[in-house]
């Protein structure tokens, strides 16, 4: 198990747990990021500290430290 922000670009994983403060948790879960959901790390914006994910056919960005609150299993 690792955290979402530590995936390499192009790496896929399955969500194990959605952590973080309630607003973040709720928002991510409502986007369909739940335990068992498949995600792929599309791109990293190192300068802005932002990662881009692909999940449920959409692309989402979140701050890297926020992505660090999600535990995943590498696929």
């Amino acid at each position: 198990m690792t955290t979402l922000d530590s995936l390499s670009v192009g790496g896929e994983a399955t969500i194990v747990d959605v952590g973080g403060a309630r607003p973040l948790q709720r928002r991510l879960m409502e986007f369909g990021i739940l335990p068992g959901t498949r995600v792929r790390l599309v791109r990293r914006h190192a300068l802005q500290g932002i990662v881009e994910l692909e999940v449920r056919d959409s692309h989402l960005t979140l701050r890297a430290h926020e992505a660090g609150r999600l535990s995943v299993d590498r696929v």
């Binding site: 309630r22 607003p23 879960m29 986007f31 335990p35 791109r43 056919d57 692309h59």
Partner: protein
Amino acid sequence: MSTTTRARTVVLAGNPNVGKTTLFNRLTGGRARVGNYPGVTVERHLGRLSLPDLTAAELIDSPGTYSLSARTLDEQVAFATISGLAPGDRPDLVVVVVDAARLSRNLYLVLQVLELGLPVVVALNMVDEARRSGLEPDVPALERELGVPVVPVVARKGEGTDALLRAVAAVLHDPARGTRDRELWTPEPALAADVAAVAEALPAEWHGGDERRRDALALWALLSLDPDDELIEIPPVLRDAVESRRARATADGRTIDREVIAARYAWIDARVTETVRDRRRVRRWTDRLDRFLLHPVLGFAFFLLLMTGLFQALFAGADPVIGRIEDGLGWLSARAADALPGGLFADFVVDGLIGGVGAFLVFLPQIVILFLFLGLLEDSGYMARVAVLMDRIMKALGLHGRAFVPMLSGFACAVPAILATRNMERQRDRLLTMMVLPLMTCSARLPVYGLLIAAIVPIGEPGAPFRQGLLLAGMYVFGTVTALVCAFVLGRTLIRGPRIPLVLEMPPYRLPHAPTVLRTVTEQASEFVKKAGTVILLCSIAMWVLLEFPRHEPEGTGETETAAAAAQASESYAGQLGRALEPVLEPLGFDWRIGVGIVGAFAAREVFVSTMGVVYGVGADVDEETPALRERLAAATWPDGRLLFTPLVCLSLMVFFALACQCMSTLAVVRRETRTWRWPVFMLAYMTVLAWGASFAVFQGGRLLGFA
């Protein structure tokens, strides 16, 4: 209760970026009224639906949202519009627009609306895009599972809208056809107990005794209420009930949010299997573009280039049109002056009325350019990338990533820039940006700076152009830094708001839909003329009265026209105000004549130059390049013979102009955008205090340091 004569209401709901606005325009035939949602400043569009059976129905747009659960005021607006809390507000039907290529996430919102027991028609939009990516939506299966009509449409091309209207008419006629007859999912016993307890605390008029609706609203409350949410008009007893159930759940090791959201997605995942054949190919173009547009160097370079283009367009592009408008008004003034007998009434028509109309018409070209630009950025999907590019810098200042575009537009003019703050979803972010925008150096300050800089560094001195340029650049930096500092301070004090996590959708790039963009532009322009225009016109007339009354009595025949004008300015209410202000202005180094200029500049900053022309007896037809005015200023003295316009006073005056909110049009627009006088009054107050303080510091500090 008679419902036969009442016009039915249909609410349009959907996630952001699903083509809701385009569909709204299609369904209403492009005619919409713009208003506000009750009690808040979020813009609302209403239009008449042309239904095949001629039922009278009104279509209400709702803010784009991924979920009905709410944390911010703006999310609450979406929830309130769709659910219709008060019995009279309940919509007869909700059309949920769904992106066919992102079905599972979009169905989440559909489920929430269905849980409320409201009649629903699902508009499955962008089926063409979904098909191109190899995803053929199974409409009959979807209808069967959801239990409500599902209509495939392509809003951009107008495909399927007739079928959608037929489905809407059918459900309005027989609501049972659009109402799901069974529960979607059954909560576990522990959650069911939470729902039952919270349901007790709900105001009865929210659900009117309907059990299913009551339980759905209880779920909404459990997921939305939080000690630091921004929601309004929530009964304390409901907050208490939610708080105690959530505390108990936490103690038991449960997470209510997760139980509810996971149950909804479990329903969706059991029924919708996304079968995109070649996932990578779908976003090939978007991915290629993003590799460039979000590149840490090239992406920034492109963004800056784009912003430079906008800047140029706002300055240079709008200029000829503004000139044309001014010519037209000049022509009109001349005709009016010819047609009317001379005297006060002619003066009123020419200077007060036509001048006042001109005062807001000149903003139109910039508003049109800015909204065209914003519309293209938004509709193409690029605006989401702007938020990513600017997030780190803007977040450090407490501003939204998207605030960059309005802030930059503020260099041209604060009025369109304030309208452009609508690109942000949250009221708090809009308000904060609006409050500091007028500190950006707008183009109306340039003539004033030009006049004063020429007084500090006379043309012809060695190295003058360079030193003048340096001073001007310094004023730009000064204004910008002050704006950012004010944002930082205000964002942590008066205009606080919970930090929202940056979870943004990056929609695929699409060619902007011209009709949608153009309609937004015309709508904004006509709204501005109707709403802000009236206030600006009234203020212009008030300023005219201040400067023209009481009338100056000509002193015999020896008095020249310019002397009479100077006397008029001095004896007018504005002149009296200038004199009354002198004790306050003297510590800044200003005399009463500068005071008149400052009062006059309230109509528009550049008016300062012509007012100076009048009070110094050069005539009103001057600009900052007029040598006669510069000489008069250089020669002006205090009664005791000291020179008035020393370099220090000019600097103090520039600082005052940089910071003071001397623009009634800005205040009028802030009033229109916030629907209250509180914020424009606050803006005027804080900026005036800031301006006075900074000028005081410059002038008195400069004197202490030995500058004259």
